[in-house]
């Protein structure tokens, strides 16, 4: 068996060398730099941070480069790296009401305090390939608008839309609390899951899976009919209480996408007629994921809202939460390519034996 091990080692070393060559690609083409990926592939970086569940744009960019652009492989690298980091603290809950918004839209109210801000969106592009981006030498970017003189005024808060519906009691409230939430990165997830645990799982869940689950609710699998009450993308401050100081200090800023969906609701056995809410919150700019997350969040709330279980997959907590993590999914999926030689030999023997028995029985009957 030693011969087999040595042969394997040499093959693996050569495979790694070839992988490195393929990753680099044609040598006459300039090598990608981490800042290039971080700045110019920002939405890929965002996805890797969100699903890797670690906010660090440089690390995500590095993972994307190393993974040759395979984003799930990049997420794997980030998840692995994250296990080497000691958990120092939990932050104070971020205040999305204090977000410095880049983008903020509502499908439910046209005129709202703070206004509809489109931000750097793809929404109104024509989706035609822009061959100008293929040519070398893009035009120099427009000079930034001159900054107004620094003022002493604090930045105005952009209030959440749901606070208006809240005033008339038309929408269910989200009461503040300081409860300590469960953490599926520390304790195995057990079902039934608290809504906070479901949101944690969805926030780091595969965008494609969550998107499809959300789409299924719109096609009738689950009876929610959702409006985007508010979608906002921007930067929030992150603060941590420092044990040696006894007070909280801001330690940085992160970009977030938040989506609140408002859902028609005719009331149920236990709840009065109200609008109900779905909530999506994702690290980085990740609009599709945030909207999808809020739809799936709402679908999974059928029980606490006294609704019927229609058998829709998006209402099935076990189905959604057990399959939304793409690292767990690909881990188990890809393991079937590992050597199962002994297992298969056993299967082969069994099939041969069963066939021999069947033939013998047929001959005996004749």
């Amino acid at each position: 068996m030693y011969v087999a091990v040595k042969g394997g080692e040499r093959a693996i070393d050569n495979a790694h060398q070839w992988l490195a060559d393929e990753r680099r690609g044609t040598l006459s083409v300039p090598e990608l730099t981490i800042p290039q990926i971080r700045e110019q592939m920002k939405l890929a970086v965002n996805r890797v941070m969100a699903e890797g569940s670690l906010y660090d744009p440089d690390l995500a960019a590095l993972a994307i480069k190393q993974a040759r652009g395979d984003l799930i492989e990049a997420v794997f690298l980030i998840r692995a790296y994250r296990t080497t980091l000691p958990r120092l603290a939990a932050t104070q809950p971020i205040d999305t009401g204090a977000m410095a918004v880049d983008r903020r839209i509502s499908a439910t109210f046209k005129d709202l305090p703070g206004g509809q801000i489109l931000g750097p969106t793809f929404d109104y592009t024509h989706r035609l390939l822009d061959f100008a981006l293929m040519a070398e030498g893009e035009p120099a970017p427009a000079a930034p608008p001159t900054a107004p003189a620094p003022s002493a005024e604090p930045e105005p808060r952009v209030p959440h839309v749901t606070s208006f519906l809240n005033r008339d009691g038309l929408i269910e409230a989200a009461e503040p609390s300081d409860a300590w939430p469960p953490d599926l990165t520390r304790e195995p997830m057990e079902l039934p899951a608290d809504r906070t645990l479901r949101l944690q799982a969805l926030a780091r869940g595969d965008e494609g899976f969550v998107l499809s689950m959300a789409y299924s609710t719109q096609r009738g699998y689950g009876r929610t009919h959702a409006f985007v009450g508010e979608l906002r993308i921007g930067t929030v401050a992150v603060a941590v209480e420092i044990p040696e100081l006894g007070f909280a200090v801001e330690i940085g800023e992160i970009e977030l996408t938040e989506c609140e969906t408002v859902n028609q609701f005719k009331g149920s056995r236990t709840e009065p007629p109200q609008f109900t809410r779905g909530y999506g919150l994702v690290l980085g700019q990740s609009e599709r994921k945030a909207i999808a997350m809020s739809l799936v969040d709402r679908a999974l709330r059928w029980q606490e809202l006294g609704e019927d279980f229609t058998g829709a997959p998006a209402q099935d907590e076990e189905f959604v939460l057990m399959h939304c993590d793409n690292i767990q999914a690909t881990g188990f999926l890809e393991h079937i390519k590992l050597p199962h030689y002994v297992d298969f030999q056993a299967e082969l023997e069994l099939v041969r034996k069963l066939r021999a028995e069947a033939v013998a029985m047929r001959e005996a009957a004749e």
């Binding site: 000691p86 958990r87 120092l88 603290a89 520390r186 044990p243 040696e244």
Partner: protein
Amino acid sequence: MNAHALEGGFTEAPVQSARAFREILEAVARPGTIHRVQGARPPAPLSVAAGTALLVLTDPTTHLHLAGRADCPAVREWIAFHIGAPLAVAEEADFALGTWDALQPVSRFRIGQPEYPDRSATLIVDCDRLVNHGPTLTGPGIENATWLNLPETAAFDANRALFPLGFDTLFTAGDQIAALPRSTRVEAT
């Protein structure tokens, strides 16, 4: 916070903690053997070995019970700065630290559950000295027999009877450390 509490942690955490962890692992794998660990300089009355064991084995998720004179402001502050372990009563502790007398009655400490025998407490018993004389130890990790100056045998005998449940014990003195996992049989000589 008392400035002294901010000192005495690892100066080279990756190397020092890996080395100390290895020694503690060896001690638990070979019960009764005495090893040396260093790196921590905790405030009194903690020994270097007890402080090092805390730095290596505890973190903000492990509930720690301080018993007797170990429960003093200087130690609490040192733990808060270097480790961040939440303090707990004996019944809820994952780790408990003190002299053998201060830790009594040890029947308060968690012994695990049938599905999760590991959800139990580890005692860190600070002693005056550790020598290989005294009650006889036999069992897994011990080739024939060894001896360790345990403070008593009755409590450990009773603990062994609970196997696979039970608490596990580390003994510390100065920079020395030895271990008595729940799987070891003890006999007064």
